[in-house]
């Protein structure tokens, strides 16, 4: 056995020596006035020193790391562009997943940057403040690198030209947008519970892993590289999510019911938003990674189960309605795709009926439900389209007051009956898609009655005009190119030409 070595100063001690005295209590102003937001949510903190910063990163080191990551990433992006990387993807249908990501998810990174910038000012504890500030810069880097990674596709494919503009206006993009609006307008602790814990920790593997493995499976190396570059930041983000939960739960027992309510709320809001990812996995990837059902079982039921088993020690219960969400994993991708198939004339990406082999794959992955409920409908739509009667739904759907998804999801025990709930507030009726969304509404009705619901706004004349084409122009869509069925789209035409050239060569 080797000899024992002499002890020296640990990394933690060195860091505390380096940063000592950099945080201080104010003297001529009351701390409560300087930090007015960190106690009004009811979270009680006795000792801010109880916050453990596991990263101990200095700003100097932070810049050095991030600039190295950028150098690497941009080298890959450049070579992807120079080598016409877009020709190496499996099929042009894949790009529709990128369209959804760029308009639906990338702007959330920017929203996250805004949120973390805000709360990075609001905590009186130095540890969380610095962690939030660094994360704010990470998020800005993520939105920027995502736009740059995908900009190459914008040269050839439709629907990628106005992501931020669309994010603010387009009906289905109000689903992710309202999620972050809700989080950013909450207090700082709820913001961290929603984004750092529920989103970055509990649900992140259901959002990023499917997109990034989807990219890898479908030959999109630019997006894969972005994924690796971002993932090296995510560890810090996930740790922040776990740390804030432990911190709140350990500081005072009166925090427990508040944290539980936030977990219930943000778990449900998160799963609602993930309906978009579910349909991406099951329908939009020409080469599939795994089914949504499988992803849910691995990342939520198993990994989330281990987490909530540990949280039970604090008296935290698994999120309310987790059982319903698990039932939904069997149905939600099919129902969401069907909604978009109905309204793809008003969407900035294409939809289609999967080919026979793809339908067989879905039958295999969803043996008890797909053939019974969804395959006959898709085959019918396919027949109609081939007969020149591609179905588009010309009425506008009712949206859930909370998650803002069209109310097309069903009761999970009865997949032929639409699910909806009604609440009353100040003499008006408000509709929600589920018990989960109804609970959220009922707890803070004054907040959710202010929701900017795209369909209501269209009917009120706030979205460019009375006719669908007026609204789509207001969305900045190129009509006939960005929207409608994939078969016959300019994307498909271009792709087929490239493939024909390739055959000739």
């Amino acid at each position: 056995m080797a000899e024992k070595r002499k002890k020296k100063l640990g990394i933690k001690q060195r860091y505390s020596m380096l940063t000592r005295g950099l945080g201080w209590d104010t003297t001529y102003q009351d701390m409560d006035k300087v930090f007015p937001y960190d106690n009004y949510e009811g979270i009680i903190i006795h000792d801010w020193e109880g916050w453990e910063d596991p990263f101990r990163l200095t700003m100097d080191a932070y810049w050095k790391f991030q600039s190295e990551k950028e150098k690497k990433l941009y080298a890959v992006i450049d070579s992807f562009a120079q080598n016409n990387g877009h020709l190496g993807i499996t099929d042009a249908r894949y790009v529709n997943a990128l369209k959804l990501f760029l308009t639906g998810v990338s702007p959330l990174e920017y929203q996250a940057a805004r949120g973390f910038t805000h709360v990075g000012r609001q905590f009186r504890g130095v540890g969380p403040r610095v962690a939030c500030q660094m994360q704010a810069i990470d998020e800005l880097r993520h939105v920027q690198t995502q736009i740059h990674s995908m900009s190459h596709y914008n040269k050839y494919f439709d629907g990628l030209h106005s992501a931020p503009h669309m994010h603010d206006r387009v009906w289905y993009l109000s689903v992710p947008k309202s999620f972050f609006d809700d989080a950013r307008t909450a207090g700082p602790f709820e913001f961290l519970t929603s984004i750092s814990f529920a989103f970055e920790y509990v649900l992140t593997n259901l959002l990023f892993v499917p997109f990034m493995s989807g990219a890898a499976f479908n030959g999109d190396m630019a997006t894969v590289t972005f994924g690796f570059s971002a993932q090296s930041d995510e560890a810090r983000h996930m740790t922040l999510g776990l740390e804030v939960i432990k911190f709140m739960l350990e500081q005072d027992e009166r925090n427990i019911p508040i944290v539980q309510r936030w977990m219930d709320k943000w778990f449900w809001r998160g799963t609602r938003m993930l309906a978009l990812v579910a349909m991406m996995m099951d329908y939009m990837l020409p080469k599939r990674v795994m089914s949504w059902r499988e992803a849910w079982d691995i990342y939520f039921t198993e990994a989330g189960g281990a987490l909530f088993a540990d949280l039970a020690r604090y008296g935290i219960k698994p999120p309310k309605y987790a059982d319903i969400a698990t039932k939904e994993a069997e149905h939600i991708s099919h129902q969401a795709w069907h909604i978009f198939y109905n309204y793809t004339h008003a969407a900035a990406f294409h939809t289609w009926v999967p080919g026979k082999e793809e339908l067989d794959w879905l039958s295999e992955k969803y043996p008890t439900t797909f053939d019974k409920y969804y395959r006959p409908r898709l085959e019918y739509l396919d027949k109609e389209e081939k007969a020149g009667r591609r179905f588009y739904n010309d009425t506008l759907p009712m949206l859930c007051q909370v998650c803002q998804i069209p109310m097309g999801f069903t009761d999970m025990d009865d997949p032929t009956t639409i699910s909806f709930e009604v609440s009353e507030y100040n003499g008006d009726k408000y509709h929600t898609c589920s018990l989960g969304c109804k609970d959220i509404f009922d707890y803070e009705p004054a907040k959710y009655v202010q929701a900017w619901l795209p369909v209501h706004q269209i009917y009120q004349g706030n979205c460019g005009g009375a006719e669908v084409p007026d609204v789509l122009k207001w969305y900045n869509f190129n009509l006939g190119a960005d929207n409608l069925e994939y078969n016959g789209s300019p994307d498909q035409k271009l792709w087929d030409e490239w493939q024909a050239h390739r055959k000739k060569a």
Binding site: R5, P54, K72, R313
Partner: protein
């Protein structure tokens, strides 16, 4: 082929198998290095290689930059050794850890006594002193049994010319069957020691709670004997949970100890009191006895848990409900060979 891995700043030395990652070796030895993805992608487990050759494995170029590779950084979750290696990791130093070197010993069985119908006390006498911290365990080689078995040391380090073990007969267990049925006074046994990170954090000067289940009494006995002898000033409370009165042992010993020391209390509890048991003490699970005794409030204490996994888990929940958290909870799980890999955990907790 295996290599020696030295971990700074604590100076601990581990044996690492060929192909075994640094992280795996550390976690198995009870040394916590912060980690997250376990796939070389996230960089949470970054360590510095101070000496020796390593294979960096499948570390993502974004999680371990080129300049960091040049500086000798590595990701513990994918890094393997190619020589004896010294690393520096983000490990918090434990003021009370003595980081004693592990050595091999040979001793003579000098006593085999029944403590209960299924627990034997075994004393192994030695010609030399054994270096260990109260609470640590030995790896005992048992004749005709594959691989060593772990047993906690029940005597205090002040009395280290022998090792006292409490061995419960595990049904179908090769090792304990041998010790119960074959072992006789005069036999020679070899073992290596000391192992484990279960020792008292006395430098923090907090009142201590010990919760022991069955033969989980061994470590607390060693720890409490040492503390009382050294004149530890804070309150010490020992809860010992067994099934029925026949399973309780050392009751008189601890009662006498409690009479002698004002700061020491002893509370045995029976979870399955039998009809004929002459018993006026606590009935129910041992963590429930602790909850009653402390009126459900544990804040400000330090807790040491030793026993089977269900007892540990129930006790952790009771303690956390009573506002005592990971930083003040230490545990030693008694797993038998049959318990296997254990359950899946999240990264929420590091040690418990």
């Amino acid at each position: 082929m295996s290599y020696a891995l030295t971990i700074e700043p604590i100076g601990e030395v581990l044996e690492v198998e060929e192909g075994q990652t640094i992280l795996d070796a550390c976690l198995r030895a009870g040394i916590y290095i912060p980690y997250q993805c376990n796939h070389g992608l996230c960089s949470t487990c970054k360590v510095e290689v101070v000496e020796g050759d390593v294979d960096l494995g499948d570390a993502s170029p974004f999680a371990l930059m080129d300049f960091e590779r040049d500086e000798g950084k590595a990701l513990a979750c994918v890094c393997t050794l190619q020589s004896d290696v010294v690393i520096e990791a983000d490990i918090e130093e434990d003021e009370d850890a003595e980081y004693l070197a592990i050595k091999d010993y040979k001793g003579t069985v000098s006593e085999v006594v029944d403590l209960t119908p299924d627990v034997k006390k075994i004393i192994i006498s030695l010609d030399e002193e054994v270096d260990f911290q109260a609470g640590q365990y030995i790896q005992l080689d048992i004749p005709a049994v594959d691989g060593p078995r772990a047993f906690s040391i029940a005597n205090s380090p002040d009395n280290s010319d022998h090792i006292e073990l409490h061995v419960r007969l595990v049904e179908g267990g090769q090792g304990t069957n041998y010790l119960h049925n074959e072992l006789v006074v005069g036999d020679i046994l070899s073992f290596s020691a000391p192992y484990g990170h279960f020792f008292v954090r006395k430098s923090q000067n907090k009142p201590m709670i010990f919760i022991a289940g069955g033969t989980g009494l061994s470590s607390p006995k060693s720890m409490i004997e040492e503390l009382l002898k050294a004149g530890y000033g804070e309150k010490i409370t020992l809860f010992h949970g067994v099934r029925a009165a026949a399973d309780l042992y050392y009751q008189k010993y601890f009662e006498e100890l409690a009479e002698k020391h004002e700061n020491f209390s002893y509370i045995p509890a029976l979870s399955e009191k039998k009809a004929g048991d002459d018993w006026g003490g606590e009935v129910g699970y041992v963590h429930e006895a602790a909850e009653r005794y402390f009126d459900g409030s544990f804040a400000g204490h330090q807790a040491y848990l030793c026993g089977p996994p269900p007892m540990i888990e129930a006790s952790i929940r009771a303690l956390m409900k009573g506002r005592l958290f990971e930083n003040d909870i230490y545990c030693e799980k008694f797993l038998s060979k049959a318990d296997g890999g254990g359950d899946k955990r999240s990264p929420l907790f590091k040690r418990i």
